[in-house]
């Protein structure tokens, strides 16, 4: 009998074949992703190195902070890996297409379990390992750690990844035996995103900037208590942190290392036994098509019927919104976005610029343009994730649109409007509220407000058009579409456009504000007025150009399709 690793061969062969078969854009993709990876690796390495060397200067306090830091790091990964394990196990154990083939063959459940579990661990944890590599290297090099630290790191990370993924897989096994698999996936996706949003908010509301303020020193004890509160000795994250810290300072912590390995082994054995008992029942249940409950969204039909648009556009709009709202994997990501927006605005609300009395006004106005750029990036990201994949989202059902007696121009415009409305609302909220928090000059409020409206139109138009120009109808989900070469191309173009817009609007505004802030106020010279007019006109022309280019190229691509 072949070992269980035999069942991993198709995945390995597929990857090998993918590497062998070159596709158009592979080279550019390799450069782009390779470059980004090197930069991220370097940033993480230097960040970990810098923090460790800084903390080294504080002797025992520094060691204490490194120890807590490691526990926090592993605690974050513990939760991430558990959720990742749940979601990945749902796919690898219950929803994969090849399971129907494998389960029809005389493969023992235990072999199948080990093969699938190995796949689940690899798929769930590779990102954590990739992240930990530069961080631990940075810490180790900064503290001149012995070789044993790096070997301990390997021996710690391996069982540490297995434990939460096993717990996640066990949860999935339980859930699938209770709910149908597809329903369980929706529930898990939602739970995962709510969890991620909460983590982001929690980390922000701890207010780490308090540490940097001398006047808040009396609160530092409380801050440490808050930091230490989730670090409990009962969790594998604590064991991993302790094991690594011991080897970092030249010692050994066999107790915690042993706890990691024995727990990982015990979890795997228990899960294997549970799988033999309940896996097939769960799989069988996951194949049953339960009656799906869904939101009827009748109000949408009523609202749409009141809109003064053609029947075709109305039906396209209603269809897009309903499909979006009923797909948990789509709308649930908005929760995460909401958490990020709240954090973004909260950061502006706590920005205490009045502590710099002479420069406060100038810095506030500078921040207004920084905010315009950041809001632009948020718009670009949302457009890449939700608007760019809009045409591809039609998927294999696109034949319905193409065989219908409608102009593809109307179809694309419908995608544009349904993308623009939420993006414009969000971008205006971000800009207007941040400007209010900063109390910037009224002129800049108007300029940045107009700027973000222009940017929203241009970026949504560009995303809609390029999404039609580079569609991926066979993609499994919108994230894949957003990460395609076309999606990356859109992001690069969007970043260049945003930087140009911030420059074109920021520079003339800065000249004007500078003049107005002088005493006595000196009126603008004619050449300065001309320069301001040219910059503003150029900003409008650039936005209109980007918008028109996007939409025209999209319509042309759709009309030439096939």
């Amino acid at each position: 009998m072949q070992p269980f690793t035999y069942l991993l061969l198709p995945a390995l062969w597929s990857s090998r074949n993918r590497v062998k078969r070159s596709e158009r854009g592979d080279f550019a993709r390799a450069w782009l992703f390779g470059g980004v990876s090197v930069v991220v690796f370097a940033v993480l390495f230097w960040g970990a190195f810098w923090i460790t060397t800084q903390l080294y200067a504080y002797d025992e306090l520094g060691d204490f902070l490194i120890r807590i830091g490691l526990s926090w790091l592993f605690l974050t990964f513990l939760s991430f890996l558990t959720f990742s394990g749940i979601v990945t196990a749902l796919s690898t154990f219950f929803l994969s297409d090849d399971l129907r083939l494998l389960l029809a063959t005389p493969v023992a459940v235990r072999r199948l379990f080990y093969a699938r579990f190995a796949k689940t661990v690899l798929q769930s944890s590779w990102m954590v390992v990739v992240f930990l590599l530069p961080v631990l290297l940075g810490i180790g090099i900064a503290r001149c750690a012995p070789c044993m630290f790096y070997l301990t790191a390997l021996a710690t990370v391996a069982p540490f990844c297995v434990i939460p993924v096993a717990a996640g897989t066990g949860t999935t096994l339980l859930l699938v035996n209770v709910f149908p698999a597809r329903r369980a996936r929706d529930i898990l996706m939602l739970m995962g995103l709510v969890f991620a949003g909460s983590i982001v908010l929690l980390l922000r509301f701890i207010q780490p900037e308090r540490l940097l303020r001398v006047d808040s020193l009396p609160d530092v004890t409380g801050f440490f208590l808050t930091l230490q509160s989730p670090v409990t000795p009962l969790l594998p994250s604590f064991w991993a942190g302790e094991t690594l810290f011991a080897s970092l300072v030249g010692g050994r912590d066999l107790l915690h290392a042993g706890a990691l390995w024995t727990t990982a082994g015990a979890f795997t054995v228990m899960l294997s036994a549970a799988s033999e008992r309940w896996y097939f029942a769960g799989f069988s249940k996951s194949q049953e098509a339960r009656k799906a409950r869904f939101t009827k969204l009748r109000f949408l039909d009523t609202v749409a019927s009141l809109m003064p648009i053609s029947v075709v556009r109305r039906q396209l709009l209603v269809k897009d919104v309903k499909v979006f709202m009923r797909d948990v994997t789509q709308w649930s990501q908005l929760l995460l976005l909401l958490a990020l927006v709240m954090m973004y605005l909260y950061n502006f609300s706590v920005l205490d610029l009045d502590r710099i009395p002479y420069m406060a006004g100038t810095i506030k106005n500078f921040y207004a343009f920084l905010n315009l750029g950041l809001a632009g990036f948020v718009v670009a990201t949302i457009a890449a994730r939700f608007v760019f994949p809009a045409v591809s989202a039609e998927g294999a059902a696109f034949w319905i649109i193409r065989t219908a007696p409608i102009r593809l121009r109307d179809f694309l415009w419908s995608k544009f409007w349904s993308g623009l409305a939420p993006v414009l609302l969000l971008s205006l909220v971000l800009t207007v509220m941040a400007n209010e928090f900063l109390a910037v000059a009224p002129l800049l409020k108007a300029v940045t407000g107009a700027g973000i409206v222009l940017m929203s139109f241009a970026l949504v138009g560009l995303a809609t058009g390029l999404g039609a120009r580079y569609p991926r109808f066979s993609a499994d989900n919108a994230t894949q579409v957003a990460g395609s070469p076309g999606g990356i191309g859109f992001m690069i173009a969007a970043v260049a456009y945003i930087l140009a817009m911030v420059g074109l609007l920021g520079w003339p505004s800065a000249i004007y504000m500078w003049r107005m802030s002088r005493l006595p106020v000196r009126p603008l010279r004619p050449d300065e007025i001309s320069l301001i007019a040219i910059c503003c006109t150029a900003a409008v022309a650039l936005s209109v150009g980007v918008f028109l280019y996007g939409m025209r190229t999209g319509v042309k691509a759709l009309e030439e399709m096939g």
Partner: protein, 250 residues
């Protein structure tokens, strides 16, 4: 109703469809037969407006598909071989959406939708999500959509795939009834029994070219076959008689 003149489709050096001429009259059910890869689906997809022909002309109800695509498509219903539909819509919502694409709206629509769903025996599934449908149900829903706007011509690519015998019988009856009402139906199929039973005329395509056309009797005569069944005639015309050697090998 459907007229095709010198239709060609080239993929690089490979010619998938090579100068096909075809005419389907109102009320006619025209079968489009051929072995795998002969060019049936490519031709059907070009007529449906899903593929751009390299050259040639397609006219539906007097409208040139190249110059007046919306008008041509408005007269046409299309039933693809694989029924991909929006999984997150209900059957009723999908049909209303489809009607909207053809500019149909208003009070009579709800009744028309229910009428079509009842006709295709999907009435009690009107408010269920498409994702819970079986392949055969999705296929029938696509057919509902194709006939919903009362087209004058219908294109069907492999109509019986995934249908149970009851479903297949239902579809055959509906197609017959539609043709009696003057709807022109162009149907590609592998199932020779279906073609034999339903089609008024048949075109056989091989390597992108129409090699024979006529009624079943005319084709039988052309192949010099006295066989009652269409299969031997088809095999003779398409050069597939070597298949008979399989018995010896097996």
């Amino acid at each position: 109703m459907i007229a095709i003149h010198d239709l060609r489709k080239q993929y690089g050096p490979f010619t998938a469809v090579d100068g096909v001429d075809l005419e389907v009259k109102p009320g006619e059910i025209h079968g489009f037969l051929g072995p795998n890869g002969a060019g049936k689906t490519t031709s059907i997809r070009m007529i449906a407006g899903l593929l751009k022909p390299t050259s040639g002309r397609i006219v539906v109800n007097g409208h040139d598909l190249a110059t007046r695509p919306e008008a041509a498509k408005a007269s046409l219903g299309f039933i693809p071989d694989r029924p991909y539909i929006y999984e997150k819509l209900t059957a009723g919502e999908f049909l209303r959406f489809h009607a909207g694409l053809y500019g149909i709206d208003g009070e009579g629509l709800g009744e028309r939708v229910r009428e079509m769903l009842e006709l295709f025996e999907l009435g009690r599934w009107e408010h269920e999500l498409v994702e819970s449908f079986s392949h055969g149900m999705k296929q029938r829903l696509v057919m509902c959509a194709a006939f919903l706007h009362r087209p004058q011509a219908v294109l069907v690519d492999e109509p019986m795939v995934g249908l149970d015998p009851r479903g297949a019988r239902l579809i055959k009856n509906i197609f017959k009834r539609m043709s009696e009402r003057g709807v022109a139906i162009l149907m590609s199929t592998h199932t020779l029994e279906v073609a034999h039973e339903m089609c008024d005329r048949i075109s056989i395509i091989l390597k992108g070219k129409i090699i024979a056309r006529g009624t079943v009797d005319e084709l039988r005569e052309l192949a010099g076959s006295r066989d009652e069944q269409l299969t031997p005639v088809f095999l003779k015309l398409t050069g597939g008689s070597a298949l008979q050697e399989i018995d010896e090998i097996v």
